[in-house]
């Protein structure tokens, strides 16, 4: 559908109606981006501002804590892609076969997605609690050792944090279901004439057609992970010994220290890593190239 030129006399009205959105966008997206780009190369604590070139980045690359945070962030992203995405795709594909009661399953599996990170932090601080947590109690009931402090043991802390989100598969699931609903009937009719079973149709027809939506959910998930903060900040504050810290938390600490320029250098890294991931995933899964 081609767009028409603005009718005579409506030019001012159009400009006026674009104004509020443009003002919000400029104030809270464009200007901050500009501030970020300049101050990432500066020493900045709110008042004094001194150009220091690549100093912030040099410091970042020589700080082992930065690499720990980067490593954890990538670990969380990998956990999401390896567990959350396949589970969600499988759940969406099964529900698309419309077993009796599928709507109830869709609702209950989706529910955890609308719970906030802060609430999840509280839920899991109880769930993983060394003495009174459900996890240890369940393990003890099974005769297994049930006294581990999951969140404060360096060998398990990262896994425990990943456990708070990898099973929240509802978002992936509903996107997959919507995508399957959009597949034309004819595609399946042909297969049924050939006598293909439901299982074969799922694997050989449905799954290949989900390529783009799988790319999309991986992309969205990576964008969430790259800025992961709430659960880690509240649950472990990045500890023990930075075993769970993320890039966003690392940047936040610099901000709290009044090292705003440095915080912005880390922030710019988050944005750049995010952009690289977007481009890579879009290429890999041919997102946005039509079918």
């Amino acid at each position: 559908m081609g767009a028409a030129p603005i009718p005579r006399g409506a030019r001012r009205a159009v400009a006026v109606s674009l104004l509020p959105g443009a003002a919000l966008f400029a104030t809270f997206f464009l200007v901050p981006l500009g501030v970020l780009l300049v101050t990432a190369f500066s020493r900045w604590g709110g008042l004094e501002l001194a150009w220091t070139g690549l100093e912030n980045y040099r410091r970042m690359l020589s700080d082992p804590v930065f690499f720990a945070a980067l490593g954890n962030t990538l670990f969380y992203a990998a956990a999401a892609v390896a567990v959350q995405v396949p589970l969600g795709v499988a759940a969406g594909m099964v529900l698309a076969l419309r077993p009796r009661g599928w709507e109830a399953f869709r609702t209950v599996i989706f529910v955890p997605f609308v719970i906030s990170g802060a609430a999840y932090a509280l839920v899991f601080s109880m769930f993983y609690n060394a003495r009174a947590g459900l996890l240890n109690n369940a393990l003890a009931a099974l005769g297994l050792p049930g006294d581990r402090d999951w969140l404060f043991d360096t060998t398990t802390a990262r896994w425990a944090v990943a456990g708070t989100f990898v099973f929240v598969v509802g978002f992936v699931m509903v996107l997959v279901m919507a995508e399957i609903a959009a597949i034309p009937d004819e595609v399946y009719e042909a297969a049924q004439i050939d006598g293909a079973s439901s299982w074969r149709q799922a694997v050989h027809i449905t799954l290949p057609l989900l390529r783009t939506v799988i790319g999309t959910v991986i992309l969205i998930r990576l964008l969430v992970d790259i800025g992961m903060f709430d659960v880690v900040f509240i649950l472990t504050a990045g500890g023990p010994d930075n075993a769970t810290a993320t890039l966003a938390l690392y940047a936040y600490r610099a901000y709290l220290n009044g090292e705003w320029g440095y915080a912005n250098a880390v922030g710019s890294t988050i944005l750049v890593v995010g952009m690289v991931l977007i481009v890579a995933v879009r290429r890999l899964f041919r997102v946005g190239e039509g079918r």
Binding site: M1, A4, S17, P20, G21, L24, F25, T27, F28, F29, P32, L33, V35, L36, L87, A91, L97, P99, V108, I109, P112, V114, I115, S116, G117, A118, A119, A121, L122, V123, M126, F127, R131, G133, L134, N136, F167, V169, L175, E186, Y188, E189, W199, Q201, V213, T216, V217, I226, F229, I234, A248, A251, Y255, W260, A263, N264, G267, S268, T269, G274
Partner: protein, 279 residues
Amino acid sequence: MSAARPRISRRAAPLAYGFLTVVTLLALTPTAWVMVSSLKTGTQVFTGAGVLPDPVTLQGYVDAFTQIELHHYVLNTLLYATLGSAGAIAAAFLAAYPLARYAFRGRSTLVAGFSLALAIPVVGLATPEFFIMRELGLFDSRAGMVIFYAALQFPFTFVVLRSYLLSTPRELEEAAAMDGAGYFTTMVRVVLPLTRPALATVAVVSFVQIWNEFFFANLFLVSQEHQNVQLALAGFRSQFGFNVTGAIAGATIVMLVPIIVFVALQRQVIAGLTAGAVK
């Protein structure tokens, strides 16, 4: 649903239910357990004895309001979520209409800019956002939070509304123009009613997102009297030893609000998330 669609076979059904049950348990167990625990006594929570509450008590819920004063945070959050969503929707609708209907210079730049903002991991912009809020005198203020949330929800709202408008016919608008209706008259009298389904969708999604927002609330809100429910939750955690049942009951209420909104308006939520994602 047509006959051509593959359905679950009788043989595969038990396998499917087994799998779905496992996924449900993995997704829901910790949350369900904590919600059930909101009816326990403090002693039972601390000893971890038994999965079900014994005895059942509502003391936690009483404490959540009398001691933690949850209602106060709830009111703040309702204010942020309703006005923030309304602001985002108003700005987005006003911008989406001309950018869906008319060709003019700068149109594609604006569309690309507004849409790309959706893909920015905004936590990377934390310090500049703090700086701007402070310079504009919006730091630690309720009005500032409403404006900020309107901005934060603007890209998503814009993308969904514009794509909806692109897919709706414009005959009615053309008819209105023939009758001499002006730009804003057409927008409000003709286009707005047609856009109602998409408006409902973005309203629900953005309400839930603002209700759940923690990062920027933590960055911008210092005074306790301005804080939202998520900050209150994070506070419970550090005071875990003080009133554990009050905290659990409060957390349960904070979680139930978006859950109820979702269960009641499931279609809108799913449609909104799907529409926002495929762009």
